[in-house]
């Protein structure tokens, strides 16, 4: 699994999307930087967790079934 993750993959493009979407969306909800960063971090963690969860499920399905 590790060599597959290290290979050139579209998954390496996802952090750009994750960071920008989290920060920009949080900045449209608040004006204060502490709140922007806190909410952006929260959205980033939630999106990353969702993507990792979906990735693990797909990996398990494609490997063992």
């Amino acid at each position: 699994m590790i060599p597959a993750l290290l290979a050139a993959s579209i998954y390496w493009d996802l952090p750009v999307l994750l960071v920008v979407v989290s920060l920009v969306y949080a900045a449209t909800r608040h004006d204060r930087w502490d709140r922007i960063l806190r909410e952006g971090l929260g959205w980033g963690v939630r999106i990353a967790g969702f993507l990792i969860g979906i990735g693990l499920v797909l990996y398990v399905l494609s490997t063992y079934i």
Binding site: D13, V20, V21, Y25, A27, R29, H30, D31
Partner: protein
């Protein structure tokens, strides 16, 4: 004993279940809940249409115009990074408005809609990409000056111009849609998704310039001395 006389009290039954007092619902308030202190301190929203227009043209420019420079720079660098990163993933061939003069036009409710409605029907991604602002305007220039006999358009060359579909006899250096979709490891498709997300996120930025953020903070003067809760 007279028939209308009250009956004698029955002795308490030891096996009877205990009496549960009835649940009384809380009284319904007759007046709506008063606004929170923070909301009461906020001034009414004033729509800033010039700032919204500026944020459409260039993401974050309206916020800079309003004095919110940090947020404006965040929007500018964030959305332009996402938009041009997506274009780079698609080898700069995934933002365009197609010329559909030789294709069946869109028909809606019995009426034919040629021109831009038909182009958007064939390339609906542009409805999201358009909202990034001037960064997508070369597509409109290419669309209005499209000549199928030429390989490039005026001013912008091949930038944001409809790429050729491709044939089996194309030279290897020619970038065609068939090659991008067949050989690109899905990055071409993911690239246009990034550009669409950047455009749609700019709609939120435009609204932030128009009406402010969703959660507003009371002005400092109101927070210091005008707090009715402390009175």
């Amino acid at each position: 004993m007279a028939p209308d006389s009250p009956a004698a009290p029955t002795p308490p039954d030891a096996a009877a279940p205990p009496v549960v007092p009835p649940v009384v619902p809380p009284p319904i308030p007759l007046e709506p809940t008063p606004p929170k202190v923070e909301d009461a301190l906020l001034p009414p929203i004033k729509h800033d249409y010039p700032a919204a227009a500026l944020s459409y043209l260039i993401p974050g420019l309206g916020q800079v115009y309003q004095g919110r420079i940090g947020k404006g720079l965040l929007f500018f660098f964030g959305l332009y990074s996402l938009f041009f990163y997506g274009m780079w993933m698609g080898q700069w061939r995934n933002v365009w408005l197609p010329d559909v003069a030789d294709m069946p036009p869109l028909e809606l409710a019995g009426s034919r809609l040629p021109g831009i409605p038909s182009s958007l029907y064939y390339r609906p991604q542009f409805m999201g990409q358009f909202w990034i602002g001037v960064a997508a305007w070369p597509s409109l220039v290419q669309y209005s000056n499209f000549d199928p006999a030429k390989d490039t358009g005026p001013i912008f060359g091949a930038f944001q111009r409809t790429p050729p579909e491709g044939t089996q006899n194309d030279p290897p250096e020619l970038i065609t849609l068939n090659k991008l979709q067949r050989d690109g490891n899905k990055r071409w498709d993911l690239g246009w998704v990034y550009t669409v997300i950047a455009g749609v996120l700019n709609l939120l930025v435009i609204y932030d310039a128009l009406a402010g953020p969703m959660f507003r903070d009371p002005p400092p003067s109101a927070r210091k001395g005008d707090d009715p809760a402390s009175a």
